[in-house]
Amino acid sequence: MTPLRPSPLGDQPVLPQDTVYQANPPVRLLIGFAGFGAGSVNLAICSSYFAAGAKDPAMFLAGVAAGLWGAALLAGAVVVLAKDRLAGGRWARYALAAAAAAHLAAIAYPRSTAASTAAPLSMTQLSALLLTLMIIASLGWLGRHGAGQKTAGQGTAGAGMRPGKLLLAAFAGAVLVAGITTPGLAASTAGQYAVPHGGHGNVAPGGHHQR
């Protein structure tokens, strides 16, 4: 864990920006959950770009960028949860803000070689945008509220919160993230062509249930 550094404003220590405070386990869990969700959705965006524009260099590059960003988000979520710190520190926050702007631009100006894939992919981008904003908001909340709790008690994970309540909060966060992630994955190109499920709502032409 990165050590505390002295505050320029006085004797009270200030937490470095890459520290995710242990005093707020539910918020830290939400950051990890949203990181897993956003990483998964970005991998779906990557596969959609590859499928839509295999011969278009711009689409290919966008796919590569989405894939790398998705892998980075998954790795970052593991670091946040396992090591209690934000991998990349301040630069990670800038990258998150840039990713949110990119998702917003992709929704506003959809670019696709196949017009039919543009609308569903906007849903995937919207899902990624929501999850990215969830991470940014949670980090901001920790920055504002976590420092006081940490400096006051130097608490450990879960301090002051009963495990039962903590698990209820974690479960609510997990369902929220899964509820945002799943429609995003399903709306991606790969999701549309996935093996038809019980609902039979999105059967791909030529799928194994087609006669």
């Binding site: 990890g32 959950f33 998964s40 997990a174």
Partner: protein, 134 residues
């Protein structure tokens, strides 16, 4: 047990998955072992292989939850990672008969929710002092 979120999660999820695995067999009579079209258990589609996997995961989680915190952490993380993979891969089995556990949309939501919860709790809570300092 009460003071360890990992043991609580492992025990509760283990009991629930064992129950779901047993109930699944009540609705899947006549369904092929690896049929891509299963039967609905409430809104979750299952087939016999899916039920067997639920039983195995439930047993592993329950055993780990009752055994101790370290075991619970390890099994929660491992099962969470597997569920994350299943939640993603479940959507990406492109146009093939590889959906051998009869996944549907509700399954995928539940698998992703289970994945993030188990992985999150397993990785971040009940750390030993040495691990927390690392």
């Amino acid at each position: 047990m009460r003071n360890s979120p990992n043991r609580l999660v492992a025990t509760i999820f283990g009991a629930v998955y064992l129950l779901v695995g047993l109930l699944g067999f009540a609705v899947t009579s006549g369904v092929g072992f690896v049929a891509t079209e299963g039967a609905n258990l409430i809104i979750f589609e299952v087939n016999p292989l899916h039920n067997v996997i639920h039983l195995a995961i439930g047993a592993a989680l329950l055993f780990a939850g009752l055994r101790g915190t370290d075991s619970a952490r390890t099994v929660n993380s491992a099962v969470g990672a597997v569920y994350l993979l299943v939640g993603i891969v479940g959507l990406f089995l492109l146009n093939s008969p590889l959906n051998i556990i009869a996944l549907n949309g509700a399954d995928n939501v539940l698998h992703l929710a289970s994945a993030v919860l188990l992985l999150g709790v397993g990785l971040s809570l009940d750390k030993s002092p040495a691990a927390a300092r690392a």
